[in-house]
Symmetry: C3
Subunit: 370 residues, 3 copies
């Protein structure tokens, strides 16, 4: 049985056993954060999260299980649940709250993860109604972003909020004169050599989408993506690289770049535009790079916007950048968009597009003698 | 003549006299803040506002009269005007500006209320065009929120802005360690006993939707709602209670909870979901409670978000929470949504739904022998 | 060949020469900032920008050229490009970055203008998809606002961000007691006499839409607008005047009013509502004035909202106010909206509307004897 693509044959076999189907739905949900409807990709990502930190892996699993269960209880569309579409927000809610709340393995934090993951399912259904219904684009991970930010900002003033040290409200300031964009692991660490700095920025930039600040986690995730789609894996690396380069060009803080913070939004944005929402052509490939640049600029902007409350940008930059580029469909006759309901993998989109073209040419050829 | 439900017979009689029709439209507008298209409910709420403070009652009346007049002058749909749909934002604009601007009974403040109430009519028509047109959901009280916040924030730096002491810009901070969620009437007041604390939180939480910080006002409003719909009155109390409990669970400031600030958004949100926008079933009842929880979380979040400008959250938490839950329609086959144009009262929705079901069964039964 | 109206005959002649067609597209793009699809209007505005400052004129030209080129490369609709619809955001991005980044004539600033102008084309196409597609209103200059704000806010913390002294983050405060709304050119300047103050406020208020703080620039722009439409020129002056008066009534800072900051959003808003998006009648004329008031209130609000990051309100007030009023279409039967695709000039809208009315009456008269 093939592990390539969306693993439809496996998915149908899993349907025979409710527990297996549920596990399959959850793993696909994890993979769907980067548009991979494939349980092996999801499994690789879960492993990467445990590599990052066991508490992170546990929290992500808790989130994806709860958000998927909530979808079943509320009576959401079964096909969407099986494709993991009610899991990807949940795994991110779990991961984010495990990172930004303290302490680790705390029962109250787990309660907030359960609450947040459930609400993410409801909000995602509502947003999907608006976005897909009126504009034919998905709301991406907006539900995760909104639910997590709503919780974190309120928690500043809640006795039971459990906000940790990473949330530190401050005044926005013009710091441009004193910013150093030398790549290094921490503010007081020595400058990294070029290869070390670049490899860390790129692969931590992939792990950071799942809150795993680890070069190994990043590599495991790329391999997991490649199981489902080689094109997607390439654009993941390209996107994270473009994010890093944009940060360097703008003169952003080198510690943030080294730790992958300029990569994770750009990685997911490039992957979405370069093959998933548009059939891969040289033009959509160039747009994927442009979208990665825009996502990086948005990361810089939203990070500064949130300084007064000490909040993280999360994946809002990815959401806004990718929405802008995916909404180009219809505006340019040179692009071949893939409708939301028809999305599988970049490779299948290419094959289908080629098949359609040869069929149309065939019809054309037949039409001449007739 | 019955005062139950939407009082259609009375409404038709009032149509005979233009002044009476206008008064009826205004009172229905006051009732529509909590989805009650009933002039007696509106009258009870006006009385509750006067109980809260005569200046509050006057300002609310000024707002509802001006916003309803503006709708007539601009040429809005007469049916919508008669149902109070151009009054509910105005009464809230009046109430809010009377509370957050100073001094009371000031002629300049009255001018700003007239300006704000007029603009609320225009903005509501625009938002309704977008929300109902493209997404089949109403914009709730968003126009009130936007107009009031636009005025209050600008007024920080206007010589004639009249902002009062309740608007106090500050730095957002992590205060979680020092927050006490003991219920008490003021920061320096003694802890309330349980019954006193809970009753105040719940019924002030109902009065606060109309800026009346008074337990008596809250009770008068619940009675007024019950005139139109008993189901709505029950969900009002349930919603305010859930808001209070959410605040206690999160560990919010006990003074705010005691004074009803955690109740008013949740009360209106629960009422909307539990019977108005969905036919009441056990599932929509549970969702109503969940929506009240979400509204309370949003209240905590938006309150903290607005700290740098010292602004109040107003009813934005209610708007966002209710929008999210109402947009679930279509996502779940287990819910029975009521279309915006068909909304009357929870009781009538139940009766119509039962009638439809029995008719369908009747058709089914007939179909068998045929 | 007439220079009146949209100069269609000239546009068709220019189509014969690709370079001339491109120049024509760019100049129309400049004119489209104030809805004037006319290259002579555009030329007058460019001259006004050079009068303001040569670096401003150069930056504006760079922006409009790059954003128009980007539209050609991506493959946008040729008709829209020729009408200047992919130029108006670009010229504003160029002008804004030339003002808020430092130093003048800097090569890095030019790179950021090229980047921003290109992205403005993509974002505008995406927003137009959503706004026109789902709501039948254009996104106005939102793309310019978002791209410029995204760059400026991130730049606070970029070593290569080049933010200048006009971007100064601070705490929002209640300053109402100490605000002086006496018209004067600078905080330490003497009070202007009434005529001088008012003329400066009104005509600088027209120049400031293009970042030209110059009374002469304002007059050149009004003349340029009058070439295309006399009605639009009148509403430009009326709108700027209403903005000034609103600022005075609210008690805003007199230095800002004198330098035209309360005029430019209101000027464009009044022009849009009074003849462009609604056929000019006494009712739409009154709404144009109301829209100018609302735009001025939004200018005060957004300016204060952005204080913590030191950001300018740009033309967001115009966008939001005009959107609200244009969305009134359909809500009132007393207004005659012009569909986005049918917009030419206020004069032509009036003529077409009169022609339609007389035709309908003609049909009516014929119908009686038949």
């Amino acid at each position: 049985m093939s592990v390539n693509g969306t693993m439809q044959a496996w998915g149908e076999r899993a349907d025979g056993n409710p527990l297996l189907a549920f596990v399959d739905s959850c793993l696909r949900g994890v993979g769907q954060v980067c548009f991979m409807n494939n349980p092996v990709t999801g499994l690789a990502i879960v492993i990467a999260m445990f590599i990052g930190e066991p508490w992170l892996g546990f929290a992500g699993l808790l989130g994806v299980v709860v958000s998927t269960l909530a979808a079943i209880v509320i009576g959401m569309d079964r096909g969407a649940i099986r494709a993991g579409l009610f899991g990807f927000n949940g795994v991110l809610v779990g991961g984010a709250l495990s990172l930004f709340l303290q302490p680790d393995w705390d029962i109250v934090v787990m309660v907030w993860i359960v609450l947040g993951a459930s609400l993410s399912t409801i909000l995602h259904a509502a947003l999907a109604n608006v976005f897909i219904g009126a504009h034919a684009v998905p709301p991406f991970t907006l539900a995760f972003n909104f639910i997590t930010l709503i919780f974190l900002i309120g928690a500043l003033n809640f006795a039971n909020g459990r906000v940790g040290g990473l949330i530190a409200p401050a005044d926005a300031q013009v710091t441009r004169g004193s910013v150093s964009n030398t790549l290094r692991s921490a503010a007081d660490a020595a400058t990294a050599n070029n290869l070390e700095g670049v490899l860390n920025a790129i692969f931590r930039g992939i792990g950071q989408l799942f809150f795993a600040n680890s070069i190994v986690a990043g590599i495991v995730i790329v391999v997991g993506i490649a199981v489902c789609s080689r094109i997607a894996a390439i654009f993941a690396v390209v996107g994270s690289t473009v994010g890093m380069l944009t940060g360097l060009a703008l003169g952003a803080n080198g510690v943030a770049i080294y730790n992958g913070l300029w990569g994770f939004n750009s990685f997911d944005a490039a992957l979405a535009v370069g093959g998933v929402f548009f059939v891969l052509t040289w033009r959509s490939g160039v747009l994927a790079v442009a979208c990665a640049v825009f996502a990086a600029m948005l990361f810089g902007a939203i990070g500064t916007l949130f300084i007064p409350w000490g909040l993280p940008a999360l994946t809002l930059p990815f959401c806004f950048a990718t929405l802008a580029f995916v909404l180009l469909k219809g505006a340019s006759t040179e692009l071949e968009p893939v409708e939301v309901a028809d999305i599988t993998t970049p490779e299948e989109h290419l094959a289908l597009s080629a098949a359609e073209r040869s069929q149309q040419e065939g019809v054309g050829r037949q039409a001449v003698p007739a």
